[in-house]
């Protein structure tokens, strides 16, 4: 095991100032190192048998990896290899996760962050928390959405694939954060390893090393991580702490959302004598993102862009209809899609009455006099581009 030391020291050197990883995680990442070192002495298949000796440590390594995943280890950018070997080892019929993880370890790259990444990668493949990482990454790529939401959505993609078995989806996180976290995990693990025996102890100091309790701890940590996400998602959860009251809040929230769906569907049924929501309403919905006070500005902007694509194929009359709905008047002049969107955006922000009056004035007094407000001129140009003879006041 002495061969592992230089690498661990190497890990130590790569420490960054980010020391958020828990002691356990660092221990685990060091364990991975050790396992990797051991694995170098065994060919893959015998390694699997060799795992029997390392079973205990392998098991701990599992949790280490899961912890790393939980707290954002760096991801190795080559999931394909891991995936195949993983499957092969799974076919050996080992039902326990530790073997699978340990077996995946030999393929880790020799660089410490990569080790953390690779092991996290393979471990994460089966861990549900992996989905969180992937969600985070995709969320970062989207760069806009709430973290939990992206996380949840990504999770949903992968949930099916791995209930208990390892999923083959791997995440590649390129954020510097995660790299530094992985490095610090390795480093701190190295510092703790000398205190405890390399092979056997994977537990935190002062905690039971029983395999059952370790499994329990992993489970508890998973649960607490998900509770954290839920806390961010459910409004009003910040004040309450503790699983019980948070669950209460979550239950209340889900119930209220479901009731809202019922109520809104009833309302929609009452409004429409027949079920004809169609395209008009679809565009209306696109048109009116700026209207509700809860709307964020860029959201409406985005809606406009997508609406442009959607509507471009369809007739312009449909584009006009939303404005019509607000104006209570039909304008049949063909307007460029872009213009119409601009118009409706400005339209939403002003009072409809004044808009009607203005338009009336403008058409009566000819185009030059209509430059009182910029948005009016926009609309005028739009209208004038088209056959505005059809326009009637």
């Amino acid at each position: 095991m002495n061969s592992g030391l230089p690498e661990m020291l190497h890990c130590l050197n790569l420490t960054s100032e980010n020391c958020e990883m828990s002691v356990l995680e660092r221990q685990r990442s060091c364990l991975k190192w050790q396992q990797e070192q051991l694995s170098h002495h065994h060919p893959p298949i015998p390694y699997f048998n060799g795992n029997d000796h390392l079973a205990y440590s392998g098991f701990h390594g599992d949790q280490a990896l899961s912890d790393l995943v939980l707290n954002g280890g760096a991801m190795k950018p080559d999931p394909g290899v891991e995936h195949d070997d993983f499957r092969r080892f799974m076919n050996y019929g080992s039902g326990t996760t530790d073997f699978q993880i340990s077996s995946a370890l030999p393929r880790t790259v020799s660089c410490p962050p990569y080790v953390a990444a690779a092991s996290v990668d393979s471990a994460a493949a089966g861990k549900e928390s992996c989905k969180k990482r992937k969600a985070d990454r995709s969320h970062k790529i989207a760069a806009e959405e709430k973290k939990m939401k992206g996380c949840a959505e990504e999770e949903s993609k992968i949930t099916e694939q791995n209930s208990n078995s390892k999923s083959t989806t791997t995440t590649i996180s390129t954020s510097a954060n995660k790299n530094s976290k992985g490095a610090s995990a390795n480093a701190k693990k190295a510092s703790d390893a000398p205190k405890t025996d390399y092979i056997h102890v994977r537990a935190r100091r002062g905690q039971a090393t029983d395999s059952h309790s370790l499994a329990e701890r992993v489970r508890r940590e998973k649960i607490s991580e998900r509770m954290k996400y839920l806390q961010d998602l459910v409004p009003g959860c910040n004040k309450v702490t503790g699983k019980a009251s948070m669950l209460d809040e979550i239950i209340n929230y889900v119930q209220s959302l479901q009731r809202q769906v019922e109520f809104l569907s009833m309302k929609l049924a009452a409004i429409n004598p027949r079920l004809d929501f169609d395209i008009e309403n679809y565009i209306l919905k696109e048109m009116f993102p700026a209207c509700p006070p809860a709307m964020e500005p860029d959201h409406s902007h985005l809606q406009f862009n997508t609406s442009v694509e959607e509507v471009s194929g369809s007739g312009l009359e449909m584009v006009v209809d939303p404005m019509d709905a607000t104006l209570r008047r039909t304008i049949s002049a063909p307007i460029t899609v872009q213009q119409s969107f601009l118009d409706s955006s400005s339209l939403n922000q002003t009072q409809q009455v004044t808009w009607e009056d203005e338009l009336r004035n403008l058409y009566s007094m000819e185009y030059q006099q209509g430059r009182s407000t910029p948005f009016i001129s926009q609309q005028i140009t739009g209208f004038l581009e088209a056959n505005h003879v059809k326009l009637e006041m």
Partner: protein
């Protein structure tokens, strides 16, 4: 923002598709049920319809009323295969499978856990960790659904 608006748009489109199925609903309750059904199926069909609660929801919808099947198919865009995914295993059977994995943990499901399971579709058959995860995703989708419906109601 992009992902959120795309989720809502996807939901809206699928909802529309479901509503386009011709139904002769005269009473308001029937209309409301049709609207709600389409909305639920649409929100369950977003994002690959892969998670547990989505599948459970679709299975419940189909099993409750076989005529709903073509709504589901219309929204999903493909025929429902009669695989295990579509036919829910009985709760007892699933529980047995679940218990095998939980043999070492003798957890008693407290009241809250049970309540949450009742709320989330398919929650009876999930273990603790998965339940929270599914709840997370379910909440996200519900929020999108409510948001879109509210906007639509405000417009019309």
């Amino acid at each position: 923002m992009k992902a959120r608006s795309s989720l809502k748009q996807e939901f809206l489109e699928k909802w529309r598709k479901g509503l386009q199925i011709g139904r002769n609903d005269s009473t308001i309750l029937e209309r409301k049920d049709a609207i709600k059904l389409s909305a639920d199926v649409a929100i369950a069909a977003t994002r690959n319809a892969a998670t547990r609660w989505r599948r459970a929801l679709l299975c419940d919808v189909v099993s409750k009323n076989p005529t709903n099947k073509h709504v589901v198919e219309q929204i999903l865009g493909h025929k429902l295969k009669n695989t295990a995914a579509t036919t829910r295993l009985t709760t007892a059977c699933r529980r047995r499978i679940l218990r095998r994995g939980q043999n070492y943990r003798r957890r008693k499901r407290n009241k809250r856990s049970r309540a949450l399971r009742k709320l989330v579709p398919g929650g009876e058959e999930m273990d603790g960790v998965l339940l929270l995860q599914e709840t997370l995703d379910y909440i996200v989708s519900l929020r999108a659904q409510v948001d879109v419906m509210r906007r639509l109601a405000a417009i019309t």
